[in-house]
Subunit: 236 residues, 2 copies
């Protein structure tokens, strides 16, 4: 879990602040902590059985991953993204992830390919939204997993994490037969990966991300009025 952020090559999160960061990260990605939620140091310290110091460290770690944002003397919260923010994140993904995939492509083993196939099979044989979110992420991350650059991988993961909540919100109101399109795209990507064809990989992956962006940003109701993204209460 979160391999790109493991600062401890050998051990793990034997350090308190990293354990806390891990817990909060999971809660944010799972949707338990939604955008706009303020993360109070006292409350987190009490809930997680530690003092405020490791909590502060954890909030900084999460901030570096784009999962929280902090304001001096005012605290930290899960960022509220506007439609434009998400649009930009996706455009960044359209540029970056094809590179990640290309870098990974030549190093993918047969085990990786088998795993991709298995994941995609499961995606097509279930209909739970949260399960889909996990599997979809797993599909793409597996395809990137042989990328030799930790920096590039971390960046890719960060872009995924930052937009996770809005992907989930989108899924609950998405056209049910959108799944057909997603599966077709995944199959094309998988085939291109199997053929080790970087050009087709980039083509279909870019298309996949782009189409998702277009559909996602066609639903402005998923986003708040860009006013209160300031962190300051609206002036009513």
């Amino acid at each position: 879990m979160s391999p790109a952020h493991a600062r401890d090559p050998r051990g793990s999160d034997s350090v308190r602040s990293q354990r806390i960061a891990g817990i909060l990260r999971d809660e944010i990605l799972a949707g338990d902590l939604t955008p706009g939620t303020w993360l109070r140091q006292d409350e987190l310290a009490a809930r997680l059985g530690a003092s405020r110091i490791p909590v502060r460290e954890a909030l900084r770690i999460l901030e570096s991953e784009g999962l929280t944002e902090s304001f001096p003397n005012r605290g930290a919260r899960v960022p509220v993204l506007s439609l434009e923010d998400v649009n930009t994140y996706y455009r960044m993904r359209e540029r970056l992830e094809p590179l990640t995939l290309t870098e990974s492509l030549s190093r993918l083993t047969d085990q990786h390919l088998a795993r991709l196939e298995r994941i995609q099979d499961e995606i097509e044989n279930q209909s739970d939204i949260n399960r889909f979110l996990l599997l979809d992420r797993d599909f793409h991350m597996t395809s990137y997993s042989a990328c030799p650059s930790g920096h590039l991988l971390a960046m890719t993961e960060r872009l995924w994490n930052s937009t996770q909540h809005y992907r989930r919100a989108f899924m609950v109101l998405a056209d049910p037969d959108r799944a057909t399109i997603v599966n077709a795209e995944h199959r094309l990507i998988l085939d291109a990966v199997r053929r080790r064809d970087p050009e087709d990989c980039e083509r279909y992956l870019t298309g996949h991300i782009r189409r998702t962006r277009v559909e996602l940003t066609a639903h402005p109701e998923l986003f708040v009025d860009s006013d209160d993204a300031s962190g300051r209460p609206a002036v009513s």
Copy 2:
């Protein structure tokens, strides 16, 4: 300075940890703190007149910008990048910065254009390396400065900062008449910006970054053996 990281919309770094982070950031970018340098909390606290707490916060902030890396129970240091690391960073730049420029393009004012022209004029009329590094950065950042997405700008700035040291190291041994090529590229970018032509902007900017990458990575002597990038002493 460092507008993308200003967490305080109104104020500034009235907070100690941010002042410290700012100082260290400047020292790293100026080349005073070179890759591999360990940043001891005690020493920094004494030198900057604060306790270790804001120093720890500052190191986290810098880590989130890619300017330092920290290891549990072992401390923080300026990252040592391998040739492959820098290569990857540049490839990321080739993908991302054309997007940043395109997003900025339509919002650039005549003042921005005049400023770009002024910067490029000065680049062509001086030969100091450190001055060039500043002006070159200023040229590109100005061309991006109208980008409405803070996230995209921050990412772009981060990629620049992370590779700053190696750009400087490269400059000192670069072919003197390399300047001719850089200037030609800058002029083409500037012209495309003036014509508000996103396609040419992306073409020439991508080429500019790519050519720099190819030349830079043709000098493996700028990089350490990728062994001791681990942060752990070599096994002799």
